[in-house]
């Protein structure tokens, strides 16, 4: 009995079913809810691992469901989707452990974990989508599932943040829909085909295809936080820490970037897109976002807002890598998708620890916090150095490959963007590190909780450490066979470029 089509569906179900069950759980059935969450996460991880191994051996996992008379919902596990789904599976497990610790005793947890699982389901759906319509479906589902999480605290500020989030994402969704429909009417198919499905298009469609490309990229750019459309990300920081950690640093933002990768490589085909002359403006847009994001982060005093702006800047590396036509730059972009995930989630989890254990939200309140919470701050430092691009941490690898790819594609100016962004990133992270390690701690912390000998609860401490180790491992062991870097090379070879 050919099990292959069932595996992707099981992956989706492994986060959907626990979510739906958790919705119906009463508030106080903590053990059942935690059990469900963790089993769901572990099952998801196991399945993804199995698919990872299968696809590595050249297996094909595909599930089709008729949506419209001549359009189908397709769940396809290819090398590219596995890159993203592995990241989201791993980080979901980590963030679930963290969220359980973080939300101990707070109200509405059933609702929270329900929507949390829905978000992960839609992220898995986004990554496994085999054609543009399925991608659109899960992309919109992601918006719907994240909205209640931003609104979780139910304060007026949260409502306004939620509203601005919606204004951006719904508008983006509408553009994406229009683009998809227009594309469908031109090509008649929306399947993601390696090296693009538009190669046969005639000359007369060029202006239309350019317009479609602009629409699709604008639609995805909202979630990928490209410059004019990034406004919602800093405001969404009002959400609880696990939400801003997994969703706004990893799942939601990456969905946008991942979408851009799919569009450029598997819908348009990067050579065709270059021929259309659309990759250059995209590269410039990504570059401006990188610089703008860092500049804005420079002047933030709230820690999570600073990290949010840093996410705006860092995610555009992926878009930059994609927009530079060349296998090495693509590898750089792809691998940064994973690395930035590890590094950024470490930073956000540490920020969450600070907020939860010491009540510290502002950078100005972080003096000498390294003395009080050395392990958390060690993780934070690893994340920070990764952001700057210092070697042992994974950030360096992706910057290295981006640089190489850019030069190989003859785009020398990218090197200076990378250099400038490293400078700016250093100029807003190093003062924080200095304050953390080399300044005297204040007499008492705003809202301190004591956890006996340990600096904070296990559930809050282990996740950031785990992700920090992952970030370090991804950097140091980049050359290992199953490392993100080699998987990115496999993607570039199999999916995007003629070997």
């Amino acid at each position: 009995m050919n099990l292959d089509p069932w595996v992707p569906i099981l992956v989706i179900a492994s986060s959907l079913l626990p979510g739906l069950i958790i919705f119906s759980l009463a508030e106080n059935s903590v053990r059942l809810r935690t059990g469900l969450n963790l089993t769901g996460a572990l099952l998801n991880l196991v399945l993804v691992g199995w698919m990872l191994w299968g696809v590595y051996l050249g297996h094909r996992y595909e599930a089709r469901l008729a949506l419209l008379p001549d359009l189908e919902l397709v769940l396809l596990a290819d090398t590219l989707s596995l890159l993203f789904i592995t990241l989201s599976a791993v980080l979901w497990l980590v963030t679930t452990v963290y969220a359980i610790g973080y939300l101990k005793g707070s109200p509405h947890r059933s609702r929270f974990f329900g929507f949390f699982s829905l978000c992960v389901t839609s992220t898995a759906g986004v990554s496994l989508a085999g054609n543009l319509i399925t991608f659109l479906l899960f992309y919109e589902l992601l918006t719907l599932a994240t909205y209640p999480l931003i609104m979780h605290h139910g304060t007026e500020v949260a409502r306004r943040a939620g509203r601005s989030y919606l204004v951006y994402t719904i508008f983006g969704g509408a553009l994406l829909l229009l683009g998809t429909v227009w594309l469908y009417t031109l090509t008649g198919t929306l399947e993601f085909t390696p090296r693009g499905l538009l190669n046969g298009m005639g000359e007369e469609h060029r202006p239309a295809l350019r317009a479609i490309f602009a629409l699709l990229i604008a639609g995805l750019g909202v979630k990928a936080a490209l410059v004019p459309l990034h406004g919602w990300l800093p405001q969404a920081m009002v959400a609880p820490a696990p939400v801003s950690a997994l969703l706004h640093a990893v799942a939601v933002v990456k969905a946008g970037a991942f979408g851009i990768v799919r569009i450029v490589y598997e819908v348009f085909g990067v050579e065709f897109a270059a021929g259309l002359g659309v990759t250059a403006p995209l590269a410039w847009l990504a570059a401006t976002t990188i610089i703008y994001g860092s500049l804005r982060a420079l002047f933030q005093d709230d820690l999570k807002r600073m990290l949010a702006f840093s996410t705006v800047s860092q995610v555009s590396y992926i878009t930059l890598g994609v927009a530079i036509v060349g296998p090495v730059a693509t590898i750089g972009g792809m691998v940064h998708l994973v690395h930035q995930g590890f590094m950024k989630i470490t930073l956000f989890l540490c920020a969450g620890n600070l907020a939860e254990t010491l009540g510290v939200h502002k950078i100005s309140e972080m003096n000498g916090v390294g003395r009080r919470m050395p392990w958390t701050m060690a993780a934070f430092t690893v994340g920070a150095f990764g952001m700057i691009g210092a070697p042992p941490v994974a950030g360096f690898i992706s910057k290295w490959y981006l640089g190489l790819g850019a030069l190989e594609a003859g785009q020398g100016w990218v090197i200076f963007v990378l250099a400038g962004s490293s400078l700016l990133t250093a100029s807003y992270f190093l003062p924080v590190l200095h304050a953390v390690w080399f300044r005297e701690p204040p007499v008492c912390w705003p809202k301190e909780h004591h956890f006996g000998l340990r600096e904070t609860a296990w559930a809050l401490l282990l996740p950031p450490l785990a992700t920090a180790v992952m970030a370090l491992g991804a950097g140091l062991l980049a050359a290992m066979p199953f490392s993100p870097l080699n998987w990115a090379k496999l993607i570039a070879a199999r999916e995007f470029y003629l070997p």
Binding site: W400, S422, W437, L476, A478
Partner: protein, 594 residues
Amino acid sequence: MKEALISLILPLTVLCPLVLAVAMAPNAARSTVARLAPWVPLPALLLAVLAPSNLSLSLPWLLLGTRLALVNDTARLFLLFTALLWLLSGIYARAYFSGQQGIHRFFVYFLLSMTGNIGLILAQDLTSFYLFFTLMSFASYGLVVHERSSLSLHAGRIYIILVVIGEVALFSALVLATTATKSTEFHLVRQGLAQAESRDLIMLLALIGFGIKAGVLGLHMWLPLAHPVAPTPASAVLSGAMIKAGLLGWLQLLPLGEVMLLQWGEAYITLGLAAAFYGVLVGLTQRDPKTLLAYSSISQMGILTMAVGLGLMSPAAYPVILPVITLYALHHGLSKGALFLGVGVIRACSGAKRRRVWLAMWLPALALAGAPLTSGMAAKFLLKAQIGNAPDTWVLVLQTLLPASGVATALLVGRCLILLHQPRTGDSGNHSARGLVWPWALLVTAVAVLPWWFVPETPERWIHAAFTASLWPVLLGAVLAIAAVGWRARLVRSRERVDGQLSTRYLMPQIPPGDILVPMSRWMTPALTHVCRLAEERLPTRREVLLSSLKKTWSNMHWQGLLATIESSLSHWPTALVILVLLGLLAAALAIIA
């Protein structure tokens, strides 16, 4: 079997300090680790001495494929004096910090910097070199700001800014190099760079990246600020070993001996010489011996930069110039390290012991000045011998300026000895003198003995010629120093009568350390604060004002009223029916047309 044993030592050299630094974290193990810390450079020292020439260890899985190896004598020599310096400074630091509580914090950064320093000597590929270089730069920040005083924090800030600029420049250079030469191995990169079309950009970035570390003129501001504030062992290592990393970077990356780069050569030589003289000029005005020594490092590194320039200009002679540069680096590293440790020792003891130590200080001082029969003489003479290879226009210039720099150095060294002689108020003798002296003494003997061991084979009669060549600059320097002292004493006596008390105030105007930084900061800071204020307050408020005005216009354009009136008028019965009739008519009419 010996080979196996030695090849085992290679990874140990880098792993030991790293493991110990990490082992510092759990506070239970802290005291034992602090005791072990000074002995960590031993494997590196052993390696430098015993290792066969073709020893190499490749780790394809680490980072992007790392290869650690002792490729040639230069690396061996660098490793030797670096390991020696780190070893003795470590022991020195144990005594230096015996009383204080900060020893653990110090040793964490000390060990990390050591890992970086030793690692970058052994690294044979670009990425791991960059890894160790970054680790050393960032870790040494902890050494600079160890005291947590406002001065050290200021020095730290300048240091970190320059380090980051250096890192970014180096990153770009390495990426450009890798694309230009399609490989990450140093020796391949060197050969490839010769014909690469982006060579000039790479050379410029390399100059900036390594220049900051080597204290090239214009990028040197952090050196005189960092050394006085850093604990003595730290500044010894900083000045002795870490600065040489910049030089090693040049030697590894630049296509020395591959292609004749006239303009770059000239640039390096001019920069070197300017740094040499500028270092001395500003150094003389300093009052703190450590700052003075910092400036002397800048001038000595200037000379080394000039030597690299020579190598660039005459690739054919490079195989000969390289050992000279290495010897000079060894000589400078050891003597500068000895001087720095000496300063610490002098400050720690008093009375007769202090005079004896002061006398012993003469040895490294003279070596530094290049006095006859010292390693300095050998290094400087051999270097002068290489000038011949330079194109003739430069030969004359070098032949005059090099001895002049010798004189200047001698003067500077004299000034340093005078400063050390005066009792500095507030010298706390709390460090146990005994623990400090023997590592320093060992280093001084090393200064005296070690360089001779590595003097490259030269015509046998050169000692005699070197003796005379090195004698007159030192004498001239001594004469000038004595004349200066005498003149100042007379001046003080005449002033004495005026305000009645022995003014210890020096007449020489004090140029603040970090010299050109002061005007630069006076010009930069207002610009920076303006930009910050603009971004911090004015821009957001302006945006808020715009948004609120937009909302106000929207609401008071009585849109709401308009919509309401239209809606209510629509629901008036008569109007609705009239519209109904109109629609019926329109539909019928349209049907007629169709």
